[in-house]
Protein backbone atom coordinates (compact mmCIF):
# COMPACT_ATOMS: atom_id res chain seq x y z
CA UNK A 1 0.00 0.00 0.00
CA UNK A 2 2.95 2.29 -0.41
CA UNK A 3 1.92 3.80 -3.67
CA UNK A 4 -1.44 5.24 -2.61
CA UNK A 5 0.28 6.84 0.37
CA UNK A 6 2.65 8.75 -1.86
CA UNK A 7 -0.24 9.80 -3.96
CA UNK A 8 -2.38 10.99 -1.09
CA UNK A 9 0.46 12.88 0.47
CA UNK A 10 1.20 14.59 -2.78
CA UNK A 11 -2.43 15.43 -3.35
CA UNK A 12 -2.69 17.08 -0.01
CA UNK A 13 0.16 19.37 -0.91
CA UNK A 14 -1.70 20.86 -3.82
CA UNK A 15 -5.23 20.11 -2.58
CA UNK A 16 -6.79 20.02 -5.98
CA UNK A 17 -10.38 19.07 -6.37
CA UNK A 18 -11.69 17.08 -9.23
CA UNK A 19 -8.42 15.54 -10.25
CA UNK A 20 -9.19 12.05 -9.18
CA UNK A 21 -10.75 9.99 -11.87
CA UNK A 22 -9.93 7.22 -14.21
CA UNK A 23 -6.90 5.05 -14.37
CA UNK A 24 -4.09 5.27 -11.92
CA UNK A 25 -2.08 2.95 -14.02
CA UNK A 26 0.56 5.55 -14.78
CA UNK A 27 1.71 5.35 -11.19
CA UNK A 28 3.46 2.06 -11.70
CA UNK A 29 5.69 3.67 -14.28
CA UNK A 30 7.68 5.04 -11.37
CA UNK A 31 10.30 2.79 -10.02
CA UNK A 32 10.58 1.71 -6.45
CA UNK A 33 12.89 4.56 -5.58
CA UNK A 34 10.08 7.02 -6.07
CA UNK A 35 9.47 6.94 -2.33
CA UNK A 36 12.61 8.92 -1.93
CA UNK A 37 11.98 11.17 -4.89
CA UNK A 38 10.71 14.52 -3.79
CA UNK A 39 7.36 14.94 -5.44
CA UNK A 40 6.76 18.42 -6.64
CA UNK A 41 3.23 19.58 -7.20
CA UNK A 42 4.12 20.03 -10.87
CA UNK A 43 4.98 16.33 -11.11
CA UNK A 44 1.74 15.38 -9.37
CA UNK A 45 -0.22 17.56 -11.77
CA UNK A 46 1.46 15.99 -14.79
CA UNK A 47 0.53 12.56 -13.47
CA UNK A 48 -3.06 13.72 -13.06
CA UNK A 49 -2.98 14.99 -16.65
CA UNK A 50 -1.74 11.52 -17.59
CA UNK A 51 -4.92 10.10 -16.10
CA UNK A 52 -6.96 12.36 -18.34
CA UNK A 53 -7.66 15.34 -16.07
CA UNK A 54 -8.22 18.54 -18.03
CA UNK A 55 -8.54 20.36 -14.71
CA UNK A 56 -4.97 19.39 -13.92
CA UNK A 57 -3.75 20.56 -17.32
CA UNK A 58 -5.40 23.92 -16.78
CA UNK A 59 -3.80 24.22 -13.34
CA UNK A 60 -0.47 23.32 -14.86
CA UNK A 61 -0.97 26.06 -17.43
CA UNK A 62 -1.83 28.56 -14.71
CA UNK A 63 1.26 27.68 -12.70
CA UNK A 64 3.78 27.28 -15.49
CA UNK A 65 2.67 29.23 -18.54
CA UNK A 66 4.50 32.46 -17.70
CA UNK A 67 7.78 30.67 -17.11
CA UNK A 68 7.41 28.46 -20.19
CA UNK A 69 6.22 31.26 -22.43
CA UNK A 70 9.24 33.31 -21.36
CA UNK A 71 11.51 30.44 -22.43
CA UNK A 72 9.73 30.04 -25.77
CA UNK A 73 9.71 33.79 -26.45
CA UNK A 74 13.39 34.08 -25.69
CA UNK A 75 14.15 31.40 -28.30
CA UNK A 76 11.68 32.30 -31.06
CA UNK A 77 11.61 36.06 -30.31
CA UNK A 78 8.17 36.56 -31.85
CA UNK A 79 5.06 36.50 -29.63
CA UNK A 80 2.80 34.86 -32.21
CA UNK A 81 5.30 32.07 -32.81
CA UNK A 82 5.85 31.66 -29.07
CA UNK A 83 2.08 31.33 -28.57
CA UNK A 84 2.00 28.58 -31.22
CA UNK A 85 4.88 26.86 -29.45
CA UNK A 86 2.90 26.94 -26.20
CA UNK A 87 -0.10 25.37 -27.92
CA UNK A 88 1.98 22.61 -29.47
CA UNK A 89 3.80 22.00 -26.21
CA UNK A 90 0.67 21.75 -24.06
CA UNK A 91 -1.04 19.47 -26.57
CA UNK A 92 2.08 17.30 -26.39
CA UNK A 93 1.94 17.39 -22.59
CA UNK A 94 -1.69 16.25 -22.78
CA UNK A 95 -0.79 13.39 -25.09
CA UNK A 96 2.38 12.24 -23.37
CA UNK A 97 1.73 12.88 -19.70
CA UNK A 98 0.79 9.22 -19.15
CA UNK A 99 4.40 8.37 -19.93
CA UNK A 100 5.78 10.86 -17.41
CA UNK A 101 7.21 9.30 -14.32
CA UNK A 102 8.71 11.05 -11.37
CA UNK A 103 11.80 8.87 -11.45
CA UNK A 104 12.69 10.22 -14.88
CA UNK A 105 13.13 13.64 -13.43
CA UNK A 106 11.37 16.67 -12.11
CA UNK A 107 8.14 17.77 -13.74
CA UNK A 108 9.36 21.29 -14.34
CA UNK A 109 12.43 20.02 -16.22
CA UNK A 110 10.20 17.76 -18.32
CA UNK A 111 8.00 20.71 -19.27
CA UNK A 112 11.02 22.89 -20.02
CA UNK A 113 12.39 20.19 -22.31
CA UNK A 114 9.17 19.95 -24.29
CA UNK A 115 8.86 23.71 -24.71
CA UNK A 116 12.52 24.16 -25.68
CA UNK A 117 12.40 21.41 -28.28
CA UNK A 118 9.20 22.85 -29.74
CA UNK A 119 10.65 26.35 -29.79
CA UNK A 120 13.95 25.29 -31.36
CA UNK A 121 12.06 23.27 -33.94
CA UNK A 122 9.88 26.28 -34.78
CA UNK A 123 12.78 28.68 -35.07
CA UNK A 124 14.89 26.34 -37.20
CA UNK A 125 11.99 25.74 -39.56
CA UNK A 126 11.19 29.40 -39.90
CA UNK A 127 14.79 30.52 -40.11
CA UNK A 128 16.31 33.03 -37.82
CA UNK A 129 17.36 35.75 -40.25
CA UNK A 130 14.65 38.09 -39.09
CA UNK A 131 16.10 37.90 -35.64
CA UNK A 132 19.79 38.27 -36.14
CA UNK A 133 19.54 40.94 -38.82
CA UNK A 134 17.55 43.28 -36.68
CA UNK A 135 19.86 45.71 -34.92
CA UNK A 136 16.98 46.80 -32.72
CA UNK A 137 17.17 43.43 -31.00
CA UNK A 138 20.72 44.20 -30.00
CA UNK A 139 22.42 40.85 -30.37
CA UNK A 140 25.31 42.03 -28.29
CA UNK A 141 23.07 43.35 -25.57
CA UNK A 142 21.02 40.15 -25.29
CA UNK A 143 23.82 37.96 -24.22
CA UNK A 144 25.69 39.62 -21.36
CA UNK A 145 22.51 40.19 -19.38
CA UNK A 146 22.03 36.46 -19.15
CA UNK A 147 25.64 35.69 -18.40
CA UNK A 148 25.62 38.26 -15.60
CA UNK A 149 22.44 36.82 -14.16
CA UNK A 150 24.17 33.52 -13.54
CA UNK A 151 25.58 34.98 -10.36
CA UNK A 152 22.07 35.62 -9.13
CA UNK A 153 20.98 32.02 -9.61
CA UNK A 154 19.59 30.90 -6.29
CA UNK A 155 18.06 27.65 -7.46
CA UNK A 156 21.12 26.04 -8.88
CA UNK A 157 23.98 26.20 -6.48
CA UNK A 158 25.77 23.23 -8.03
CA UNK A 159 25.31 24.47 -11.55
CA UNK A 160 26.48 27.94 -10.60
CA UNK A 161 29.58 26.59 -8.89
CA UNK A 162 30.40 24.35 -11.83
CA UNK A 163 29.77 26.99 -14.49
CA UNK A 164 32.35 29.15 -12.77
CA UNK A 165 34.98 26.50 -13.41
CA UNK A 166 34.54 26.79 -17.17
CA UNK A 167 36.47 29.04 -19.48
CA UNK A 168 34.59 32.13 -20.47
CA UNK A 169 34.00 30.87 -24.03
CA UNK A 170 32.81 27.50 -22.82
CA UNK A 171 30.36 29.06 -20.40
CA UNK A 172 28.99 31.56 -22.90
CA UNK A 173 28.56 28.93 -25.60
CA UNK A 174 26.64 26.57 -23.33
CA UNK A 175 24.45 29.27 -21.83
CA UNK A 176 23.70 30.76 -25.27
CA UNK A 177 22.77 27.34 -26.58
CA UNK A 178 20.46 26.60 -23.69
CA UNK A 179 18.85 29.96 -23.11
CA UNK A 180 18.64 31.27 -26.67
CA UNK A 181 18.34 27.91 -28.39
CA UNK A 182 21.23 28.68 -30.72
CA UNK A 183 22.88 26.01 -32.85
CA UNK A 184 26.64 25.53 -33.14
CA UNK A 185 26.83 27.77 -36.19
CA UNK A 186 24.57 30.44 -34.72
CA UNK A 187 26.75 30.61 -31.63
CA UNK A 188 29.81 30.91 -33.89
CA UNK A 189 28.13 33.82 -35.65
CA UNK A 190 27.10 35.46 -32.40
CA UNK A 191 30.52 35.13 -30.78
CA UNK A 192 32.33 35.81 -34.07
CA UNK A 193 34.35 32.65 -33.61
CA UNK A 194 35.19 29.74 -35.91
CA UNK A 195 32.63 26.91 -35.91
CA UNK A 196 35.27 24.37 -34.90
CA UNK A 197 36.19 26.41 -31.85
CA UNK A 198 32.56 26.65 -30.74
CA UNK A 199 32.08 22.90 -31.10
CA UNK A 200 35.18 22.30 -29.06
CA UNK A 201 34.19 24.82 -26.35
CA UNK A 202 30.83 23.13 -25.94
CA UNK A 203 32.35 19.67 -25.91
CA UNK A 204 34.99 20.54 -23.35
CA UNK A 205 32.52 22.62 -21.36
CA UNK A 206 30.04 19.75 -21.14
CA UNK A 207 32.75 17.32 -20.04
CA UNK A 208 33.99 19.71 -17.36
CA UNK A 209 30.43 20.41 -16.17
CA UNK A 210 29.68 16.71 -15.93
CA UNK A 211 32.82 16.00 -13.93
CA UNK A 212 32.00 18.86 -11.59
CA UNK A 213 28.29 18.04 -11.21
CA UNK A 214 29.06 14.43 -10.42
CA UNK A 215 31.71 15.17 -7.87
Amino acid sequence: MQRPCIHLRAKRVISLNGLESGSRGALWLRNMDSETTALSSIGVLIEAVGRGSQVALKRLYELESRRLYGIALRIVQRPEVAADVMQEAFVQVWQNAAAFSADRGAGAAWLTGIVRFRAIDAVRKAGREILTDDPALGDAALEPDVIEKIDALAEAAAMKRCLKLLDDEQRRSIVLAFVDGLSHSEIAERLKAPLGSVKSWIRRGLLALRRCLQS
Binding site: R3, G22, S23, R24, G25, W28, L29, Q54, L57, K58, Y61, S65, R66, R67, G70, P79, A82, A83, M86, Q87, E88, F90, V91, Q92, W94, Q95, A98, A99, F100, S101, R104, G105, A106, A108, A109, W110, T112, G113, R116, I120, V146, I150, L153, E155, A156, M159, I174, V175, A177, F178, V179, L182, S183, H184, I187, I202, L206, L209, R210, L213
Partner: protein, 227 residues
Amino acid sequence: MIPQNPDDLHVLAGEFVLGVLDEPDAREVAEALATNIELHRAVTFWEEHLHPLSVLVSPALPPAGTWEAIEARIAKPAPPPVAPRFWENVVPWRWSTAGFAVAAAGLALWILLMPAPEPSLVAVLHPPQQDQPSWIATAGRSGVVVRAVTAATPPNDRAFELWAIAPGATRPRSLGVIPASGELRLGTVPPDLRDGATLAISIEPPGGSPTQQPTGPVVFVGSVKPV
Protein backbone atom coordinates in the same frame (compact mmCIF):
# COMPACT_ATOMS: atom_id res chain seq x y z
CA MET B 1 26.53 6.28 -34.77
CA ILE B 2 25.82 6.61 -31.07
CA PRO B 3 29.24 6.42 -29.40
CA GLN B 4 30.08 3.76 -26.83
CA ASN B 5 32.76 5.82 -25.15
CA PRO B 6 31.18 7.35 -22.00
CA ASP B 7 32.68 10.82 -22.61
CA ASP B 8 31.51 10.94 -26.21
CA LEU B 9 28.10 9.61 -25.22
CA HIS B 10 27.71 12.28 -22.55
CA VAL B 11 28.81 15.05 -24.87
CA LEU B 12 26.33 13.88 -27.50
CA ALA B 13 23.53 13.73 -24.91
CA GLY B 14 24.45 17.21 -23.65
CA GLU B 15 24.50 18.62 -27.18
CA PHE B 16 21.13 17.00 -27.81
CA VAL B 17 19.59 18.60 -24.72
CA LEU B 18 21.20 21.96 -25.50
CA GLY B 19 19.71 21.70 -28.99
CA VAL B 20 22.92 22.39 -30.93
CA LEU B 21 22.95 19.20 -33.00
CA ASP B 22 22.02 19.34 -36.65
CA GLU B 23 18.89 17.57 -37.75
CA PRO B 24 20.25 14.13 -38.76
CA ASP B 25 22.27 13.80 -35.56
CA ALA B 26 19.41 14.97 -33.37
CA ARG B 27 17.07 12.51 -35.06
CA GLU B 28 19.52 9.69 -34.53
CA VAL B 29 19.72 10.48 -30.82
CA ALA B 30 15.93 10.76 -30.51
CA GLU B 31 15.48 7.39 -32.15
CA ALA B 32 18.17 5.69 -30.10
CA LEU B 33 16.76 6.98 -26.80
CA ALA B 34 14.12 4.29 -26.66
CA THR B 35 16.57 1.41 -26.67
CA ASN B 36 19.87 2.79 -25.44
CA ILE B 37 19.63 2.96 -21.67
CA GLU B 38 22.99 4.68 -21.19
CA LEU B 39 22.03 7.40 -23.65
CA HIS B 40 18.66 7.74 -21.97
CA ARG B 41 20.35 8.22 -18.60
CA ALA B 42 22.77 10.76 -20.02
CA VAL B 43 19.97 12.80 -21.60
CA THR B 44 18.03 12.76 -18.32
CA PHE B 45 21.16 13.88 -16.49
CA TRP B 46 21.52 16.91 -18.74
CA GLU B 47 17.81 17.74 -18.78
CA GLU B 48 17.81 17.94 -15.02
CA HIS B 49 21.09 19.72 -14.55
CA LEU B 50 20.66 22.29 -17.30
CA HIS B 51 17.05 23.02 -16.39
CA PRO B 52 17.94 25.52 -13.62
CA LEU B 53 19.51 27.74 -16.29
CA SER B 54 16.02 28.40 -17.61
CA VAL B 55 15.40 30.73 -14.68
CA LEU B 56 17.81 33.11 -16.40
CA VAL B 57 14.97 33.94 -18.76
CA SER B 58 12.34 36.40 -17.60
CA PRO B 59 8.84 34.99 -17.43
CA ALA B 60 6.26 36.60 -19.69
CA LEU B 61 2.51 36.50 -19.93
CA PRO B 62 1.31 34.47 -22.92
CA PRO B 63 -1.09 36.26 -25.27
CA ALA B 64 -4.76 36.12 -24.32
CA GLY B 65 -6.52 33.17 -25.87
CA THR B 66 -3.56 30.81 -25.70
CA TRP B 67 -5.17 28.58 -23.09
CA GLU B 68 -8.50 28.62 -24.93
CA ALA B 69 -6.73 27.46 -28.09
CA ILE B 70 -5.09 24.62 -26.18
CA GLU B 71 -8.40 23.69 -24.57
CA ALA B 72 -10.11 23.56 -27.95
CA ARG B 73 -7.43 21.26 -29.30
CA ILE B 74 -7.66 18.75 -26.47
CA ALA B 75 -11.45 18.83 -26.22
CA LYS B 76 -12.76 15.35 -25.58
CA PRO B 77 -16.13 15.43 -27.36
CA ALA B 78 -16.39 14.22 -30.93
CA PRO B 79 -13.15 12.34 -31.28
CA PRO B 80 -12.10 12.45 -34.91
CA PRO B 81 -11.60 9.18 -36.78
CA VAL B 82 -8.31 7.47 -36.22
CA ALA B 83 -6.51 8.18 -39.47
CA PRO B 84 -6.94 11.98 -39.61
CA ARG B 85 -6.35 12.19 -35.92
CA PHE B 86 -3.10 10.39 -36.39
CA TRP B 87 -1.95 12.96 -38.91
CA GLU B 88 -3.16 15.76 -36.81
CA ASN B 89 -1.75 14.72 -33.47
CA VAL B 90 1.44 12.92 -34.20
CA VAL B 91 3.29 16.00 -35.21
CA PRO B 92 6.72 14.46 -35.17
CA TRP B 93 8.33 15.36 -31.95
CA ARG B 94 11.31 17.49 -32.64
CA TRP B 95 12.75 17.24 -36.09
CA SER B 96 9.68 16.39 -38.03
CA THR B 97 10.84 14.60 -41.08
CA ALA B 98 9.59 13.00 -44.19
CA GLY B 99 10.63 9.72 -42.59
CA PHE B 100 8.00 10.01 -39.91
CA ALA B 101 5.40 11.01 -42.47
CA VAL B 102 6.17 7.97 -44.57
CA ALA B 103 5.92 5.77 -41.47
CA ALA B 104 2.56 7.32 -40.64
CA ALA B 105 1.29 6.91 -44.18
CA GLY B 106 2.36 3.28 -44.16
CA LEU B 107 0.62 2.86 -40.86
CA ALA B 108 -2.63 4.37 -42.06
CA LEU B 109 -2.49 2.17 -45.13
CA TRP B 110 -1.76 -0.85 -42.98
CA ILE B 111 -4.77 -0.11 -40.80
CA LEU B 112 -6.94 0.20 -43.89
CA LEU B 113 -5.64 -3.06 -45.32
CA MET B 114 -6.11 -5.06 -42.12
CA PRO B 115 -7.93 -8.30 -42.93
CA ALA B 116 -11.55 -8.54 -41.84
CA PRO B 117 -12.93 -8.45 -39.24
CA GLU B 118 -11.90 -4.88 -38.66
CA PRO B 119 -10.02 -4.17 -35.45
CA SER B 120 -12.12 -2.39 -32.91
CA LEU B 121 -9.30 -0.99 -30.76
CA VAL B 122 -6.02 0.57 -31.68
CA ALA B 123 -3.03 1.95 -29.78
CA VAL B 124 -0.02 3.76 -31.18
CA LEU B 125 2.97 3.37 -28.89
CA HIS B 126 5.75 5.93 -28.80
CA PRO B 127 8.78 6.54 -26.62
CA PRO B 128 7.96 8.52 -23.48
CA GLN B 129 8.29 12.25 -24.21
CA GLN B 130 8.24 11.70 -27.94
CA ASP B 131 5.57 11.51 -30.58
CA GLN B 132 7.41 9.23 -32.94
CA PRO B 133 5.08 6.27 -33.58
CA SER B 134 7.05 3.12 -32.89
CA TRP B 135 4.57 0.29 -32.41
CA ILE B 136 0.98 -0.18 -33.38
CA ALA B 137 -1.39 -2.50 -31.56
CA THR B 138 -4.76 -3.49 -32.92
CA ALA B 139 -7.36 -5.62 -31.20
CA GLY B 140 -10.60 -7.05 -32.50
CA ARG B 141 -12.46 -10.29 -32.91
CA SER B 142 -9.46 -11.92 -34.50
CA GLY B 143 -7.31 -11.21 -31.47
CA VAL B 144 -4.43 -8.81 -30.87
CA VAL B 145 -1.58 -7.88 -33.19
CA VAL B 146 1.32 -5.73 -32.01
CA ARG B 147 3.85 -4.79 -34.63
CA ALA B 148 6.93 -2.55 -34.77
CA VAL B 149 6.53 0.43 -37.07
CA THR B 150 10.22 1.14 -37.21
CA ALA B 151 12.80 -1.50 -36.51
CA ALA B 152 13.32 -1.54 -32.75
CA THR B 153 15.53 -4.01 -31.00
CA PRO B 154 16.00 -4.37 -27.27
CA PRO B 155 19.51 -4.03 -25.82
CA ASN B 156 21.72 -7.14 -25.85
CA ASP B 157 20.40 -9.99 -23.69
CA ARG B 158 17.15 -8.17 -23.05
CA ALA B 159 13.63 -8.49 -24.43
CA PHE B 160 10.66 -6.21 -24.94
CA GLU B 161 7.66 -7.14 -22.82
CA LEU B 162 4.19 -5.78 -23.47
CA TRP B 163 1.95 -4.68 -20.59
CA ALA B 164 -1.65 -3.54 -20.34
CA ILE B 165 -3.02 -1.35 -17.58
CA ALA B 166 -6.80 -1.45 -17.55
CA PRO B 167 -8.61 1.83 -16.86
CA GLY B 168 -8.72 2.26 -13.10
CA ALA B 169 -6.20 -0.52 -12.51
CA THR B 170 -3.18 0.04 -10.34
CA ARG B 171 -1.08 -2.81 -11.66
CA PRO B 172 -0.09 -3.64 -15.20
CA ARG B 173 -0.69 -7.12 -16.56
CA SER B 174 1.80 -8.78 -18.86
CA LEU B 175 0.61 -9.58 -22.36
CA GLY B 176 3.82 -11.41 -23.12
CA VAL B 177 7.33 -11.00 -24.42
CA ILE B 178 7.54 -9.62 -27.93
CA PRO B 179 9.35 -12.09 -30.22
CA ALA B 180 12.53 -10.98 -31.96
CA SER B 181 10.52 -10.71 -35.19
CA GLY B 182 9.00 -7.54 -33.75
CA GLU B 183 5.48 -8.92 -33.93
CA LEU B 184 3.30 -10.29 -31.14
CA ARG B 185 -0.02 -12.01 -31.83
CA LEU B 186 -2.61 -13.11 -29.30
CA GLY B 187 -5.62 -15.24 -30.30
CA THR B 188 -7.97 -13.53 -27.89
CA VAL B 189 -8.21 -10.02 -26.48
CA PRO B 190 -7.26 -9.96 -22.77
CA PRO B 191 -9.90 -8.27 -20.60
CA ASP B 192 -7.44 -5.55 -19.54
CA LEU B 193 -7.01 -4.41 -23.12
CA ARG B 194 -10.02 -2.19 -23.61
CA ASP B 195 -10.96 1.37 -24.39
CA GLY B 196 -9.05 3.74 -22.09
CA ALA B 197 -6.38 1.20 -21.15
CA THR B 198 -2.67 1.98 -21.46
CA LEU B 199 -0.22 -0.26 -23.28
CA ALA B 200 3.45 -0.09 -22.43
CA ILE B 201 6.61 -1.89 -23.44
CA SER B 202 9.42 -2.34 -20.96
CA ILE B 203 12.90 -3.82 -21.21
CA GLU B 204 13.10 -7.11 -19.34
CA PRO B 205 15.32 -10.20 -19.03
CA PRO B 206 15.06 -12.54 -22.04
CA GLY B 207 12.15 -14.67 -20.78
CA GLY B 208 10.21 -11.69 -19.49
CA SER B 209 9.94 -10.10 -16.07
CA PRO B 210 10.51 -12.65 -13.31
CA THR B 211 8.19 -10.77 -10.95
CA GLN B 212 4.94 -10.47 -12.94
CA GLN B 213 5.55 -6.72 -12.85
CA PRO B 214 7.84 -4.56 -15.01
CA THR B 215 11.38 -4.44 -13.71
CA GLY B 216 13.12 -2.47 -16.47
CA PRO B 217 12.51 0.99 -17.92
CA VAL B 218 9.37 1.69 -19.90
CA VAL B 219 10.49 2.55 -23.39
CA PHE B 220 7.19 2.82 -25.28
CA VAL B 221 3.73 3.78 -24.17
CA GLY B 222 0.36 4.49 -25.76
CA SER B 223 -3.37 4.70 -25.01
CA VAL B 224 -5.93 2.24 -26.30
CA LYS B 225 -8.72 3.91 -28.25
CA PRO B 226 -11.66 2.65 -30.25
CA VAL B 227 -11.23 2.76 -34.02
